[in-house]
């Protein structure tokens, strides 16, 4: 399973490296989302307050594009069928695709975070960096697991371009909420009194715990369910 996961992840990352989908399309899309929100809100106190939520919204929208791309390459020339015929371990395929997706999301989030700090004039307390990094890592695992699972579910369906967001967005809502709350704690902002309203960094860790449970549940579900999903695709 792990050998297959390594092969599939390396293959997906090589495809991304050659096609530059993240750098040429997804990153500009996510950056534009941040900029447009900054223009629309147009007040520093508001943008600083909502920066964590906008960060995770931009990440979630980008996730949809990345997941669609990850499965388009499998269906474009019948590679998914060939994977099935080749008897490649479905759990390994699932973990490999999730790992590749997570790596792409981490790169995207790193650049987005810089964008948030620049566009929204967000100051992260030095003590909040650890919470920010751990939140991003755990939330990314959850997004990658659930994205790969639902990407596999929609892979063989007609109209999958519209079906995938409809299926995926409600399911990732807990990640959006939990990661936003944890980032608010790390940034020292919340939805109430504005900047530096007294939210403690410690308030963010329970949300990280919730994100970890989400990632574990969907990781386990994906390992078990991806095989039958591929059969239906």
């Amino acid at each position: 399973m792990w050998r297959t996961a390594r092969l599939v992840a390396a293959k997906d990352l090589t495809i991304e490296w050659r096609s530059r989908q993240v750098t040429n399309q997804v990153l500009p899309f996510a950056g534009l989302t941040l900029v447009l929100f900054a223009f629309a809100l147009d007040r520093d106190d508001i943008t600083v307050r909502v920066a964590p939520g906008l960060f995770w919204l931009a990440t979630t929208f980008s996730l949809i594009v990345l997941v669609q791309r990850a499965f388009d390459v499998e269906t474009a020339d019948g590679a998914l069928d060939t994977l099935r015929v080749a008897g490649v371990d479905p759990a390994g395929i699932y973990l490999g695709k999730a790992l590749a997706l997570a790596v792409q999301l981490v790169v995207l989030e790193t650049l987005l975070l810089i964008g948030v700090i620049v566009f929204y004039a967000t100051n992260i307390d030095p003590a909040g960096y650890v919470l920010t990094a751990v939140t991003a890592l755990v939330a990314t695992c959850g997004l990658a697991f659930v994205g790969t699972l639902y990407g596999g579910l929609a892979a063989g369906a007609k109209g999958r371009e519209t079906l995938l967001p409809l299926l995926l967005l409600p399911v990732v809502a807990p990640v959006l909420i939990g990661a936003t709350r944890a980032f608010e704690a790390a940034f020292g902002t919340d939805g109430g009194d504005g900047i530096r309203s007294g939210v403690e960094i410690a308030d963010g860790w329970p949300w990280v715990g919730m994100l970890a449970v989400f990632a574990a549940v969907f990781g386990a579900a994906g390992v078990l369910a991806f095989g039958p999903l591929m059969e239906e695709a």
Partner: protein, 232 residues
């Protein structure tokens, strides 16, 4: 000359356990029974040509043998594994070249063959040999599969199949898209794979060329195997 038992013409390897044995097999696509009680036996080392009109069930037969379709009724074994209960074991030992090539357009020819070869545990030497056998070594190996011609993509897919070291080759219109040189190359590859111990089932409309390769041909019509004859 059609044999009296259409599915099981006499063969020099009849004594050996069959590679494929289908008995009154029904397979359904949607609500349509694409195979309606097919019976067939394929012996080791055979090159079996499946012929018949469009929609006769040739592709379904190959996909069933690849373990891609569930068995609705009947009994089937492929490479000694029961198709109804052990499709994953079958899949690791068969190679299917269907209407699509199963290639990743952004990966180079070499990377495609390497990926598919490694999923089956092939070594770098075996991957290099597969590329060389199809004339895909050299500069062509570094070209992205998406930039290749249809014939070159077909050759790349064949190289992937060789690298996977399948025991049973299931080829659906393998000559499609190939130029004359590519077709000769494909025929050589099939002969070499059989010499190396593989068994091949080919669905083709190019009967003259396919008959030159085949040791036996069966006619598929209406989801049934209706005739079988040895090819001299």
């Amino acid at each position: 000359m059609p044999a009296s038992d259409p599915a099981n013409a006499a063969s020099s390897t009849d004594a050996a356990a069959p590679v494929v044995e289908l008995d009154d097999v029904v397979a359904v696509l949607g609500r349509f029974p694409a195979l309606a009680g097919a019976t067939l036996r394929v012996n080791p080392g055979e090159v079996l040509l499946l012929k018949g009109p469009n929609g006769a069930g040739k592709t379904t037969l190959l996909r069933l043998c690849a373990g891609l379709l569930p068995l609705e009724r009947g009994h089937a074994t492929v490479l000694g594994h029961n198709l109804a209960v052990d499709r994953s074991a079958i899949r690791s030992e068969v190679g299917l070249l269907g209407h699509q090539n199963g290639l990743y357009g952004d990966l180079s020819v070499r990377d495609n063959v390497r990926f598919w070869g490694r999923t089956a545990g092939a070594s770098e030497q075996e991957i290099a040999a597969a590329l060389a056998q199809l004339g895909l070594d050299g500069r062509l190996a570094t070209v992205a599969a998406g930039r290749l011609s249809a014939g070159q993509r077909r050759r790349t897919a064949l190289a992937c199949l060789i690298a996977r070291r399948a025991r049973l080759w299931l080829l659906d219109e393998p000559h499609a898209g190939l130029d004359a040189e590519g077709r000769d190359l494909l025929d050589d590859v099939i002969r070499q794979s059989v010499a190396a111990g593989a068994t091949v089932m080919v669905a083709s409309h190019e009967l003259e060329r396919a008959q030159a390769l085949a040791t036996r041909m069966v006619t598929v019509s209406g989801g049934l195997v209706v005739a079988s004859e040895a090819v001299s």
